[in-house]
């Protein structure tokens, strides 16, 4: 069959495009199908793309004219902030170390970034030996994954059209309807498996951002928040600097949101009114409000398996995401899993075997990579971060201590140890603190 592809990729987000890039560079015949008007049209993230895999897909991307680039700023200033209703106590780290290329973290806006990456993939297709036989197709919704008489996935159906391939990579994102359709995940995924992200993009002059955040035009800051930010709901807040806007938002545990009867945008409004945030976003104009479900990063949420005969699941469709308190990682996992899925396709083609046994290589590769190593290694940290104490007790304690420690007035100053002790008994207990620090020490 001449019109059969080596691979069909469903979804033109980061996982799908990364797979496509690898396939294009290796002269494979593929079809990538994106339901949005363009790649990125349907994608939302916080978001920072951590890690360095982008340099592998687009070598020396940093040498490109910054005005043409798909990314916003590289992160060289990181901050984790504990909040109570009026204070913010931050762990703040800035280092020239982060200025070295390849960058370790890039702030991105997906509508722009994914479209840029898709252009790079198209360039790679044009330079490949099968330039006329590989395609990036947009505006098409895949309705169904097709299987042959033996149950091996062999194509997709979109409207009345059917397309066939030796393999299919499902990179459809967290709302993984096709993954459920092929039977790799339950039809209904409960609320405690996911979080709802809400975000505003707030426009601000580039110069204002540079001055306000002490940046130089291309360097950027990532700031995560715990505590008051989420108004008692499990989760956290974030603020990232784009070139000429800020991304400000929250990630909220959906089950907790449901139980506490709160509206995500009310919490976001409250977060924006906190003095620490208000000072950072002052004068800006909201140019886009957005929301999207995000995986909780709990491995129990993962599909039963991420491969079957002729098919692999990549990116957030496989719930590859982690927030262990250090960074919210998801786009880097999408990138790596897309790359590994593409490698698996190439090896399968070489072996002339697209069976389940062969597709298992994808799982093995992911297990050997930092993606599943980290997800497994930090599950305890993920769960610690989701403890109710992390929502109020601990941030309150930290801020209470901070207020005492940094206050200078005309009364005698107690020793820091006493201040800390007071903060502990007021907001938590030694027992709780010990329990959590033991957990943290073990898990981080």
């Amino acid at each position: 069959m001449d019109d059969k592809f080596d691979c069909i990729i469903v979804g033109g987000g980061i996982a799908g495009l990364s797979a496509a890039m690898e396939l294009a560079k290796n002269d494979m015949k593929f079809l990538l199908i994106e339901r949005g008007e363009f790649a990125g049209a349907k994608n939302v993230s916080g978001g920072v793309l951590w890690g360095t895999d982008l340099a592998r897909l687009v070598p020396e991307y940093w040498t490109e004219d910054p005005d043409e680039a798909g990314w916003e700023r590289f992160v060289n200033h990181r901050r984790l902030t504990f909040m109570d209703d009026q204070s913010a106590f931050s762990f703040d780290f800035k280092s020239d170390h982060f200025d070295a290329q390849p960058y370790k973290g890039l702030v991105v806006l997906r509508s722009k970034f994914d479209r840029w990456l898709a252009d790079k993939v198209q360039e790679a297709i044009d330079q490949s030996e099968v330039a006329m036989e590989s395609f990036l197709a947009t505006n098409i919704l895949v309705d169904k994954v097709l299987k042959d008489e033996n149950g091996k996935v062999n194509g997709i159906k979109a409207g009345e059209e059917e397309f066939f391939a030796d393999s299919v990579i499902i990179a459809e994102g967290v709302n993984n309807l096709l993954t459920r359709q092929v039977g790799l995940q339950d039809e209904y995924v409960p609320a405690d498996h996911v979080m709802t992200g809400v975000k505003e993009v707030i426009r601000m002059d580039r110069e204002t951002i540079d001055e306000r955040f002490q940046l130089d035009g291309l360097s950027g800051m990532s700031n995560e928040f715990l505590g008051y930010a989420t108004d008692g709901v499990e989760g956290g807040g974030f603020l990232y600097t784009n070139r000429a806007s800020l991304s400000v938002g929250l990630v909220l545990g959906l089950k907790d949101l449901r139980e506490k009867v709160k509206k995500p945008y009310d919490i976001l409004n409250k977060f924006k009114e906190h003095p620490a945030i208000a000072d950072m976003i002052r004068g800006g104009e909201v140019v886009e409000y957005s929301a999207h479900v995000v995986s909780s990063g709990d491995m129990r949420v993962m599909p039963e398996e991420i491969y079957a005969d002729g098919v692999m699941i990549a990116g957030e469709a496989a719930n590859l995401l982690m927030n262990a308190g250090k960074a919210i990682q998801g786009m880097d996992y999408a990138m790596r899993s897309g790359i590994l899925a593409a490698e698996t396709v190439m090896e399968a083609k070489e072996a002339g075997d697209f069976s389940k046994q062969q597709m298992k290589t994808y799982r093995d590769k992911l297990e050997e990579s930092y993606v599943l190593k980290d997800m497994r290694g930090f599950q305890g940290a993920v769960q610690t971060l989701h403890q109710p104490e992390m929502v109020d007790e601990i941030p309150d304690l930290v801020c209470d201590f901070g207020r005492k420690f940094f206050t200078v007035d005309d009364s005698p100053t107690p020793k820091a140890r006493k201040m800390f002790s007071e903060a502990v008994s007021k907001n938590s207990s030694w027992w709780n603190l010990m329990r959590l620090s033991l957990k943290a020490a073990k898990n981080l």
């Binding site: 339901r35 949005g36 008007e37 990125g40 049209a41 349907k42 994608n43 939302v44 993230s45 806006l109 997906r110 509508s111 722009k112 994914d114 505006n139 098409i140 919704l141 967290v174 709302n175 309807l177 209904y188 995924v189 409960p190 609320a191 498996h193 996911v194 709802t196 992200g197 809400v198 505003e200 993009v201 707030i202 806007s245 959906l254 949101l257 449901r258 009867v261 709160k262 509206k263 995500p264 945008y265 409004n269 924006k272 009114e273 208000a278 976003i281 002052r282 004068g283 800006g284 104009e285 909201v286 140019v287 886009e288 409000y289 957005s290 929301a291 999207h292 479900v293």
Partner: protein
């Protein structure tokens, strides 16, 4: 502080597909009989970030797809089996077209 915007104004910043079309094919269907009879929480009326699930003057839940931003929240939040969720059809459906994302 940026000027305060109501949710309606915030939703106004969003670029939707087929915005000019009056007759669109809804990608989510909600069996509101469930919401209005056995559901103990009617949570979609407050967890939906785009306020697509509303309560009418008689206290009944109803669903409006127009402002839906395909976030997926209701797909997980509803544990009563009332929500059938699909991706919008590119030609006949609604859904978002993010400017920033």
């Amino acid at each position: 502080m940026p000027e305060k915007k109501s949710l309606q104004e915030k939703l106004g910043t969003i670029n939707y597909r087929n915005q000019a079309k009056s007759d669109i094919k809804a990608h989510i269907s909600v069996d509101t009989d469930i919401c209005n009879s056995t559901c103990p929480h009617q949570c979609t009326t407050y967890v939906c970030p785009a306020d697509c699930y509303k309560i009418d003057e008689n206290g009944k839940v109803y669903f409006q797809v127009e402002d839906c931003i395909e976030c997926g929240t209701c797909l997980y939040a509803c544990d009563q089996g009332a929500v059938s969720w699909e991706f919008p059809d590119p030609e006949e459906g609604r859904g978002v077209n993010w400017n920033y994302g």
